[in-house]
Symmetry: C2
Amino acid sequence: MPFSSINDRMQFSTEKYQKVNLIATDRSMLDIYCLLPGQKQDLHAHQGNDKYYVVWRGEAEVTIGNETRRLEPGDVAVAGPGEPHAIANPAQRPLVVLVFQAPNPF
Amino acid sequence: MPFSSINDRMQFSTEKYQKVNLIATDRSMLDIYCLLPGQKQDLHAHQGNDKYYVVWRGEAEVTIGNETRRLEPGDVAVAGPGEPHAIANPAQRPLVVLVFQAPNPF
């Protein structure tokens, strides 16, 4: 199915942040991460793939390597292979981030 | 540079639609396409790579294979390797679309 929608698929949980896959191919994948205030994905790295963040709604605190920035809707970041990265919701409202990964890590 | 911004980089021209690269790596790239009313990218295909559209602002008419849909902000589409795809701005206001490609075709 070549079509999907962020608005139809966003979902939140008080237990932990939600990863929702919108589209995946053998080569790449497009997810949304949905974080309530205070939720985060801890610092980690992927060998061999690029991971892009695009803030869709809310505010994000994104770390790439040893640099941390506060990002708003339309702001973009990328972590290359082996590069540590993390994301958190430092604000008082929900955060939705587009996450594009290639090659598909799964 | 691992950070960029859609809002800082969007640009339009009455001559033709504008492709602006936000971030590129050896493996993948993230562009924005900026289309004024009536502008379009004609049907074409890429061998060996995936191309994702995410509508950021405005309305898009996107064709993937033999299916054409009207897309709004947050709507997503993907064209796989060899799959014909096209995009047009059918509305009366500017269109900005995020375009992810992997592997990087250039």
